[in-house]
């Protein structure tokens, strides 16, 4: 039993933290996060040079990490810095591609962090697990023709490639669609918590090859990695919100004393501190399950983590704003952006209720 990260991994985390603190402090982050591109190409390139994308993949995919705990440390640091660079798409689409088409030429650039890929799987109409997608692909002369719509695809405008899921007669297939493809519309927009996403529409988009005829396993891998990553990102953001709130309780004075003297606030912060430790344990469990369990057993623990992060994230975000009082409501204070990001993580890849239901359902099967 050892709850320290191994040296290499801790060094990766430290390097990432130092880089983001220097190159993407929250003011700079906010400028780009709420700006036209929704991420910083310079920071993305810098992180690419540091090998951060490569840490998300195993050696067989050309990376040098790829374990659950690698994903945990990277996304925890990204969460601490509220980074908006397109790592979630890199991780999810890249891991899917590494399973579905390990020989694909695009993979090397994704793992190197030189090419941006978006994972276009989620659709506007949420469906029961296993029900067919609305996006369909049919065989045509010269390849496959795709029709459908994908919802809130993170950083789709920035992506050179989209990994798109679509139903075919062979099952749930995966296709790589280049950004400029004919019939592809990307309607980008800002997100409330920074960064940009897009509604992706496909109308008769023709691609020559299909990446995978049956992409179910690749999609499951992408979702598992995504759940772990978002949970770790949420944890990192919560840690910062917690630290900021502790500092505020020490320094803000009312009625002539630091407000941390008041028991009403002491008890609230104690609960936050305790629950953040529970959240960390949930992410540790998830990273461990990602590496050492498979199938239902793994997914159940990932859902437990995403549920935990959703529920505790809501508590931390709301309590942090409440304990900051009016200033916590302002755009100027970094804390408010942390609260927004923490809250929005519960909207991504299934919220606390959906994952509670999945946890129950997987426990029955």
């Amino acid at each position: 039993m050892d709850f320290h990260h191994y040296d290499d991994r801790q060094m990766l985390a430290d390097t990432l933290r130092r880089y983001l603190a220097a190159e993407a402090p929250v003011e700079a982050r906010n400028r780009v996060a709420y700006g036209d591109t929704g991420y910083s190409p310079a920071v993305w390139a810098g992180l690419g040079e540091l090998g951060i994308a490569g840490a998300l993949f195993g050696e067989d995919a050309g990376g040098f990490g790829g374990s659950g705990f690698d994903i945990m440390v990277v996304f925890e640091e990204l969460g601490r810095a509220l980074a908006v660079e397109p790592f979630l798409g890199t991780l999810m689409a890249g891991r899917a591609l590494a399973i579905a088409a390990p020989e694909h030429a695009a993979l090397a650039e994704i793992v190197a962090g030189t090419s941006i890929i978006a994972f276009a799987h989620q659709e506007p109409q949420d469906r029961a697990a296993g029900d067919p997608l609305a996006t369909r692909a049919t065989k045509v002369e010269g390849g496959w023709s795709l029709d459908g719509a994908k919802a809130v695809v993170a950083q789709a405008e920035a992506a050179a490639l989209l990994l798109v899921s679509a139903e075919t007669e062979d099952g749930r297939s995966l296709f790589l669609v280049p950004a400029g493809a004919k019939g592809l519309t990307i309607r980008g927009y800002a997100n409330v918590d920074g960064g940009r996403s897009a509604e992706v529409t496909l109308r008769g988009v023709v691609v020559a090859d299909r990446v995978a005829a049956d992409g179910a396993a690749a999609i499951a891998e992408a979702e598992a990695a995504g759940l772990l990553a978002l949970s770790a990102e949420g944890l990192g953001a919560m840690e910062v919100a917690k630290e900021a709130t502790i500092e505020y309780l020490r320094t803000r004075k009312q009625f002539g004393v630091p407000i941390g003297k008041f028991q009403a606030l002491q008890h609230r912060i104690a609960t936050v501190l305790m629950e953040v430790e529970q959240a960390r344990s949930a992410v540790i469990n998830a990273a461990d399950a990602f590496d050492n369990k498979s199938g239902t057993a793994r997914d159940r623990i990932l859902s437990a983590a995403k549920h935990t992060i959703g529920a505790i994230g809501q508590l931390v975000a709301e309590e942090a704003i409440q304990m900051h009082g009016g200033i916590g409501m302002t755009w100027e204070l970094p804390l408010s952006h942390y609260a927004k990001r923490i809250t929005m993580i519960d909207q991504q890849l299934g919220d606390q209720d959906q994952h509670l239901q999945r946890f129950i359902a997987l426990g029955r099967s």
């Binding site: 039993m1 709850f3 941390g260 008890h267 104690a270 430790e277 344990s281 935990t308 946890f359």
Partner: protein
């Protein structure tokens, strides 16, 4: 990061399991499993079995009769014993008094008292709380006035758990009424058979009388029964309160109870289907299951830190709060699970040898009393609100 135990630790776990399989009497584990009342003889029987193996005082130094276990081994033992529905070790002598004596007692006190704790000759109880001193323990008023080679003790202690069985009580008494609250307190050992000691049971809301009031009227206590220095008792009391905290989360007991709850939810029905398939009940259970899984890792993180030499600070308060919240949530689910059959109250049915006609599903009658009884968890050992004060003071620092 590696959540696995070492092969040596896994081998130790097997050794503990084998011991529990061979030595834990089914009669006792059945009582624990069904929430039935353990008699004094039951508790003494289990202590004797553990002591015969050298495992009763598992955190004591080897020279005093401890097995020399690591923090991790202790955590494994606590978990396995709880999962096997072993009775708990009565903590007052083994886990509360003994560490204080080992650190602060005289050689004479150690050699006189410790062996008698191990072999069961003496049953100890704890004299801390008073009617006017609960969370504000330092305000205690029971007085000890020096008279030659004795102290004369007058006052009242309360919430004295299992005091009705006790031969001895360790007490916090006020020896300097003029000093600041914390500075005039001493740590005194009192023979319960002394003239002037009177024990009166307090019946709790579940009908059980596990706690007592203890009255002292001009009780003469030899000065040799003072532990450490006069007026330094508060230091020893605090040491006692923070000493044995690896098991404070009660993860093993909660895990064992949750497994029983899960099995129960598959056998009981609600609305014509298994209770486990009722979406709202299933959601309540799932939340607890997830919190417990998180807690299990939180607890191991603290254990690992302690094994690495870290002193438990705010962590033990966190484990206490979260651990008791989870345990209470489970007892509430048992109560809910039985629906109307939580209401019939037949306390005789919890006693050994009861042959009456059962009412409702097996164990239904114990669910509500157990739920009510376990409200104590968030009150005793420093209420969960006091624990929140401690966490905040340690981390915010105000």
């Amino acid at each position: 990061m590696d959540l696995r135990f070492t092969p040596e630790e896994e081998a130790f776990r097997e050794e503990v399991r084998a011991f529990l399989r061979d030595k834990l009497p089914r009669r006792l584990s059945d009582k624990v499993r069904h929430d039935h009342t353990l008699s004094k003889a039951d508790m003494e029987e289990w202590h004797a079995i553990l002591n015969a193996r050298g495992w009763l005082a598992n955190h004591w130094p080897v020279e005093h009769g401890g097995p020399g276990w690591s923090v991790v081994q202790r955590a494994i033992f606590e978990e396995e014993a709880a999962r096997a529905h072993a009775p708990r070790v009565i903590p007052f002598g083994v886990s509360m008094l003994a560490p204080v004596l080992i650190k602060y007692g005289t050689e004479e006190q150690k050699s006189r008292i410790l062996p008698r704790i191990l072999d069961g000759s003496d049953w100890w109880c704890q004299g801390y709380s008073e009617p006017g001193s609960g969370s504000d323990l330092a305000s205690l008023k029971t007085s000890a006035v020096r008279d030659g080679d004795h102290y004369i003790v007058n006052g009242q202690k309360t919430w004295t758990t299992l005091g009705q069985y006790a031969d001895w009580i360790f007490c916090l008494v006020r020896t300097d009424p003029k000093a600041k609250a914390q500075e005039g307190i001493s740590f005194l050992l009192i023979d319960m058979k002394s003239p002037g000691v009177e024990v009166r049971p307090i019946v709790l809301l579940d009908g059980d009388a596990e706690v007592n009031e203890v009255f002292f009227t001009d009780v003469r206590v030899p000065v040799g029964n003072l532990v450490g220095e006069e007026n330094k008792g508060w230091t020893y009391a605090k040491y006692l309160l923070t000493y044995e905290r690896t098991n404070i989360a009660g993860v093993g007991a909660s895990a064992a109870a949750f497994d029983r709850l899960k099995a129960l939810a598959n056998t009981l029905t609600r609305g014509g289907r298994p209770l486990a398939d009722d979406p709202l009940f299933a959601a309540r259970m799932a939340r607890v299951e997830i919190e417990l899984a998180n807690m299990t890792t939180t607890n191991l993180r603290v254990v690992a830190a302690a094994a690495g030499g870290g002193a438990p600070g705010a962590e033990s308060s966190m484990l206490k709060i979260k651990g008791t919240e989870i345990r209470q949530a489970i007892t509430a689910l048992f109560r809910r699970a039985y629906g109307p059959y939580a209401q019939p109250f037949i306390p005789e049915a919890f006693e050994e040898g009861y042959n009456g006609e059962p009412v409702g599903p097996e164990d239904a009658g114990a669910a509500a009393p157990s739920y009510f009884n376990n409200r104590k968890l968030s009150i005793f050992g420093g209420s969960n609100e006091v624990q929140r004060n401690i966490i905040s003071k340690m981390i915010v620092g105000l």
